[in-house]
Every structure is written in C-alpha cells, then in structure tokens.
C-alpha cells in the first residue's frame, strides 16, 4: 500500500455480494476477522462497546477475541473517526498495516487531516460503509437502552428519522460517491440480509484479491437503492440549507444562535479539523490589563466575559470551514444545544462551493487556502480587469 498506487481510482462496476443472514453487523465483522486472520491487515480500527457499560469508543485491535465487543455501526459517533485515527498516527510513521472502518464523514475528515499532515494514510486502508447516521450523544447517554433500540430500527429501515442527529438527517454523502477516498466500500443500503463489497482503489483491489473475493457481482441493485436515498437526502439537505440561510440572513440572526455559548470550546475539541495543539483563542494572546477592559467597556456600555466568545466562533470558522465535513461532532458536544454543526455546515456549503471544493474527497486535491490560482476570485481582487475579461469572453 503505497501512495502511488492509490492515485489510480477505479470506477467500480462490479462488486462482491455476500449473504448476511445473521445481520449486516455480524457479516462485516466476519470480513474483518477473516482479513486479520489472513494477514491482509495487522490491526483494525473499529468502533466498540466498552464492556459492562453503555459507552462506545474506538478500538485498534489485533487480538481476534476483541471483535466480540466491536460494532461496525454504533448508535453514536463518539470521537470523530478521523480524530481517532490521527491520535495514534500523527506522531510518526506507522509500521503496521491498518484497516480503518469508518463512516463516510469520518473518512472525509481523515483525508482532510492527511492533507494537514496529521495522519499517516500510507499505511492505512480506509474502509467506508453506507451510513444510516447516528443518534445524538446526549440522547443516547440519557437513555442508552431506548435509544439503542430505536437506532437499531432506524438503521435497519434506513429511515431519515427525527431521532437522528441533525447533521445525519441532512447528510447526502453517507455512501460511496464520485471521488470518495476510501479504498473499500461496504454497500448496505436498503438491505438487511446481504452486503456488497466494492473496491474503490488499487489497494481495495488488493484486499479483495488477497481475501479471495472475486468481484463479478452486479452493483445495480445496491446502486439503485443508494441513488434513491441520496436523492431523498439531497432534497432534505437543500431544504435545511434554505431554511437556515433564511434564518441567518442577517448577522443578528446568526449571532442569536450562538449567544448561548459558554466558551467551553467543546465544539473545537470535538472537531476533527481543528487539530491545533493550542487554539489561538485559548492562548494568552488576547489578554489585556483591567484598564483596557474598562476602556473597551465604556466604549460599548458593556463587555461580555470571557472576551471574544463570538470572535472565537468566527475565527474558528474562517480557519476550518473550507474543510468542514459536516460530521456534526461539534453540535453533539455542545452542552447548551447550540446548532453549531448546522451553522458551520451551512457556511461550509457556501464557501466550499465558492472554491469548487468538496473536503475529504481525492487526497490529491490541494486545500483551497494552500492553492493559489491567479484567476480565482478576480471579481474581488481586480474587479475592473475581471469585468473587461468577461466582456471580451462574451464577445
């Protein structure tokens, strides 16, 4: 698995369909067990339930018996998968072949983190899976049994339920799409008794070959079901974007949503893209003498403490929103229920379109802010020349 091979994206037409009589979760685990036993990988990163508790977590496992606690589709997203992967691969080169089973938004985060040099992806096979979404962490922790059961139903029916996290309800990138960076995709949409393995890179081809899976099965069935759901969810997402753009058309509307903020920075600490060891807004760069605070207060009549509660969000937004993968981890971690994920995802949608950038797809696509294009945003930089050029082109 090296970098060069990964560049050749296949355009999958065929896959391997496997029966899953005991359920999708069980069959997915079987594949990983087999791969580990056959030394296709040295270790597997997969969600797991912490024994004797209701909590979920990520586990990097090598010992096969630990598959007993693994759950490929947990009801919650605990730590964002990209963040989990980065946690052990940012401080050096991996000397193991790792397979990481993650939700598509986690894969996208991992790719963004790769571009930000926070992940060693060269030794990782990214394996994505059709994702039914997850339920809000707090809802789950408040009643694990009820939410666990209700999630089971939602995930079996692929229902766009209101019990899902808002980010998941509005997610149209829950499956394999053009440019998805995973090496292998597990198609499961609309099915409870079979799964479809789809190779999405030369690494994916290798994996399937080593495991003896021939990719001769038609993808039509999975594709039609997936496309239908993508369509439905795209519509949902567009409605969400429209509603929220209207709601926040004026700056006041936007800030009203944020004014409950208590400055805990949970959103940032849960965000996979916010990788800085120390955020500028946690530093002492913005500390003043009491006189300065009083002076500032007198100018405005009142000054909120801690300072820069709003500026923090704006600053964070300008730093990471082009890479926002709309995973909703921020909103899940907010203790005062600010729709922060929706706000960021909405702004991300807009700015990403401006740069014609979808975060977390091809890892060769450079980050927009690291890529200078002379003719980009000429209407902002040199409006006159830009206009001339446009008129000329029109002629």
């Amino acid at each position: 698995m090296n970098n060069n091979q990964k560049e050749t994206k296949t355009n999958p037409k065929k896959g391997k369909i496997l029966p899953a009589e005991k359920g999708i979760r069980e069959e997915v685990l079987n594949i990983f067990k087999k791969a580990l036993a056959e030394n296709v990988f040295d270790a597997v990163l997969i969600p797991a339930k912490v024994p004797d508790t209701d909590a979920y977590s990520w586990i990097l496992l090598q010992d096969e018996s630990l598959f007993d606690i693994a759950d490929p589709l947990p009801p919650v997203m605990t730590v964002q998968g990209g963040r989990a992967l980065s946690s052990f691969s940012k401080a050096g080169e991996l000397d193991l072949k790792i397979a990481a089973l993650m939700r598509p938004c986690e894969i996208r985060a991992a790719v963004e983190l790769f571009k930000l040099h926070q992940i060693d992806l060269d030794h990782v096979a990214l394996i994505s899976m059709d994702c039914p979404g997850a339920v809000p962490l707090t809802d789950y922790m408040n009643d694990p049994k009820k939410m666990g059961e209700s999630y089971k139903k939602i995930s079996e029916k692929w229902e766009i339920s209101e019990s899902l996290r808002p980010a998941c309800q509005n997610c149209h990138r829950f499956s394999l799409m053009d440019g998805t960076a995973s090496d292998l995709h597990i198609g499961a949409v609309g099915e409870n008794n079979k799964i479809t393995l789809i190779s999405n890179s030369s690494t994916g081809n290798d994996i399937l070959e080593k495991m003896g899976f021939e990719t001769k099965d038609s993808l039509k069935d999975w594709e039609s079901k997936k496309d239908k759901l993508v369509k439905e969810k795209t519509k949902k997402r567009e409605a969400f974007l429209k509603e929220w753009k209207e709601k926040t058309k004026k700056a006041d509307g936007f800030f009203n949503e944020l004014n409950k903020c208590i400055n805990c920075h949970n959103c940032m600490n849960a965000c996979p893209i916010c990788y800085c060891q120390q955020c500028y807004f946690d530093s002492q760069m913005i500390t003043f003498k009491p006189e300065t605070y009083l002076q500032k207060t007198k100018e405005k009549g009142a000054l909120r403490f801690p300072l820069n509660t709003m500026l923090f969000h704006i600053g964070r937004m300008s730093h990471m929103v082009l890479s926002c993968v709309a995973c909703g981890a921020c909103e899940d971690a907010c203790p005062v229920s600010i729709p922060v994920g929706r706000l960021f995802s909405m702004v991300g949608d807009h700015t990403q379109k401006e740069f014609d950038y979808v975060p977390g797809l091809n890892r060769e696509d450079p980050l927009p802010l690291q890529d200078f294009k002379e003719d980009e945003f000429c209407e902002v930089e040199t409006p006159n020349e830009c206009e001339e050029k446009a008129t000329e082109e029109a002629k």
Binding site: A55, S57, L96, N259, K260, N266, Q284, F305, V336
Partner: protein, 370 residues
C-alpha cells in the same frame, strides 16, 4: 454582627436598583454581573459601565454560564483594576476567585464583592429551552422555603457551603419567605459598609445564619452523603474508574470550564501526551488492542491530582460534559477527602497558601520516612 439593612423591595429588583444607583452615583465604575443576552433566555457574565446597558443585568438569575471566578480572573489577570468595580458572584464562584488569586491569576483589590446565600443554579442545559422561565420561578419558590430546588446542579443540591466567605456584601435569599416584598443586605466588611448608606432601608439586627439556614445545611449534608455514596463504585480500582470514565470523548470541556484549571495549555493537550506512533506495534502485541484516542483516564486522574485539593464544587464540569459523566460529584468527593487530609478549605482564606505550594516537615510523616 454584620450591619444589616432590610429593603422593602423584591429581591431581584432591589439588588438591581442598589447596583444601578451605585453606578449612577459613580460610587463604582462598573458592575460585573450576569446579563441577558437576548430574548432567547441566554445569559452571560458582563462588565457593565453604562447605567443604560444595565437594564439587561440579572444579578441573581440562577444560571452559571461560566464560573464567575474564572471570568473575574480573566479581567484581573494582569493586575488590579484601578477603578472600583462591583462583582456579583455566587459563594462557590467567590471561592474559585480566591483560589485563583492564590495562584497569581487575579486581583481582588478595588473589587466590591457581592454574594448571596445561594440556592444553587439550574443545569445549563435548561438555558434557552422552553421550560426555562418555569424552572426559574419554581427555583425561587424553593429558595424561599429553603428547599432543594428542582433541576439544580447535583453539586448545588449537596452544597453545604452556600453562605459566602469573603463577601463584602451578602444578599440573603435562602429561607427568606418574603423575598417578593423584602430582602436583607448584610455588610460584612469595612469595604462593604462604605456602601451601606446607599441602601435605602431600615437597619435590622439579624444574624444571616437563621434556623432555616442551619436546617437547610443539614439537609444538604445528608444529600451529599447520599450522592457520594451513589458514586461510590462497587469495588475500587481500575475497573471502576474505567466504567465511570468510559464514555469520555477526551473533549476536555471539564478542564476548560474548571476555574481551578487555569493552565493556558493543559499538559494533556500538549505534544507530551501525543501517542508515540513507534510504540504501536509493541503495545498491540502486549495488549491485543488499544482504546483510541488513548489516555482519557490518565487525563482525569492527572487533572484530579492537580486541582482536586482546590475543587470548590461549582459543578461546571458536569454541566458541560456531553456524555453525562458525573465529573463534578466524583471530583468533589475526592476533593473532600483530600481537603480533609490537608486540613484545607479551598477558597476560604486568600492568605492561606494552597497545599501543593507549601511544604510542612511534619505533614504525612506516616507515609514518609518516619
């Protein structure tokens, strides 16, 4: 006995008027207090200098969006305020401020400290929610009757230190049946007394520690025992610790909102604690599997050893935990036993150094050499 003045006004209104008049008469240059942000129920701490802006001040509103001790520390981190400012804060927030001052993170000079006998604060997840106003009115009914208010933080429910220490002025609220019509201000210090003539009311000679207060204290002590018992794991040791902290995401929200955790960069957020990728193979060989990100439990234990002896049990940490870990109760409990060992009451005395900062030769000789 401290000078006390009874004012014939609703407590919220009365305190508001008192502070506003201090501001208007320029007895103080600013008020540091809770302020309504908007109509959506959000409140935040603000420094207010204009009497006009003061209209949105809600000094006694039962929420703690940030620990005011921490907020005041950010105001006075680089030195004392030259102009006098009044600050309204709850007893635990005041204790936090005192602990921060000991750590050279704040300065109380020129700050008029106003506190209250405190009925607690409502859980933050109610802020901005539909039931907010309902919960607030229920809260005041309970405070008047000196009862544990519903929907208050767990740490508030078992807090027996609800009378402020080190306040220049104390507003009596707990157990004051007629708070809607009248309330009493206690001027505890010479600094406080300077402002007593600004309070228009009649002098009374009443002790703030009424029978209701004493009974309430007892009630809360019982609750403390109950809650501490409930967090007591079935067996002590690693397994129970893992169980308690297993849902932890490592967001470190608890440390960010903790007034005692004042480090600009926590050791556990620093590169020192990045997992060394080169250890992966051997770790996996030995353990078979790793929870990732790793080190969540170590973070809590490390944070605990750093701050629990100064834990003032404000409950901020539990309120911000996205996965409902009873952080505050666990830390309070460990804090209580540590504080007992060191014979230390966090936030009581500005002059008393924090235990980690003092070496006593005869301390813990049982554990030491002799």
């Amino acid at each position: 006995m401290a000078k006390a003045i009874k004012i014939k006004k609703n407590v919220e209104e009365g305190l508001f008027d008192f502070l506003k008049s201090l501001l208007e008469k320029e007895k103080i240059k600013g008020v540091f207090t809770l302020k309504k942000m908007d109509d959506n129920g959000a409140v935040s701490y603000s420094l207010i200098t204009s009497p006009d802006e003061f209209k949105n001040a809600v000094p006694l509103y039962p929420f703690m969006p940030v620990n005011a001790g921490k907020a005041l520390s950010s105001f006075t981190l680089l030195g004392k305020t030259e102009e006098p400012v009044a600050a309204v804060l709850r007893p635990c927030e005041l204790r936090a401020f005192v602990e921060l001052i000991k750590r050279a993170q704040g300065d109380v000079e020129n700050i008029l400290i106003i506190s209250l006998s405190c009925g607690g604060v409502l859980s933050l997840n109610l802020m901005g929610e539909q039931d907010q106003e309902k919960a607030v009115s229920k809260y005041w009914e309970s405070v008047k009757k000196a009862e544990v208010a519903p929907d208050t933080r767990e740490t508030c429910q078992f807090c027996e230190n609800f009378l402020p220490i080190n306040a220049d002025i104390t507003v009596a609220t707990v157990g004051q049946k007629d708070l809607d019509k009248e309330f009493t201000l206690y001027f505890n210090t010479p600094k406080g007394e300077e402002f007593s003539k600004e309070a228009s009311g009649s002098s009374v000679s009443e002790d703030i520690e009424t029978k209701e207060i004493k009974d309430f204290k007892k009630k809360r002590e019982e609750l403390k025992e109950k809650y501490f018992k409930e967090t007591e794991p079935e067996e002590s040791g690693l397994k129970s610790l893992i169980n308690i902290f297993s849902p932890c995401l490592g967001c470190h929200g608890c440390s960010h909102v903790c007034p005692i955790c004042y480090c600009t960069l926590c050791e556990f957020d620093s590169k020192t604690h990045d997992y060394p990728t080169s250890s992966l193979s051997s770790d996996l060989r030995v353990k078979g599997g790793l929870k990732v990100p790793s080190g969540n439990l170590l973070f809590h234990l490390g944070r605990m050893t750093h701050m629990a002896v100064s834990c003032i049990s404000c409950g901020m940490c539990s309120d911000v935990c996205p996965v409902n870990i009873p952080v505050a109760t666990v830390f309070s409990k460990v804090g209580a036993s540590l504080q007992k060992e060191f014979d230390y009451f966090p936030g009581k005395d500005i002059e008393e150094p924090a235990p980690q900062g003092t070496y006593k030769e005869d301390e813990f000789t049982k554990i030491g050499e002799q």
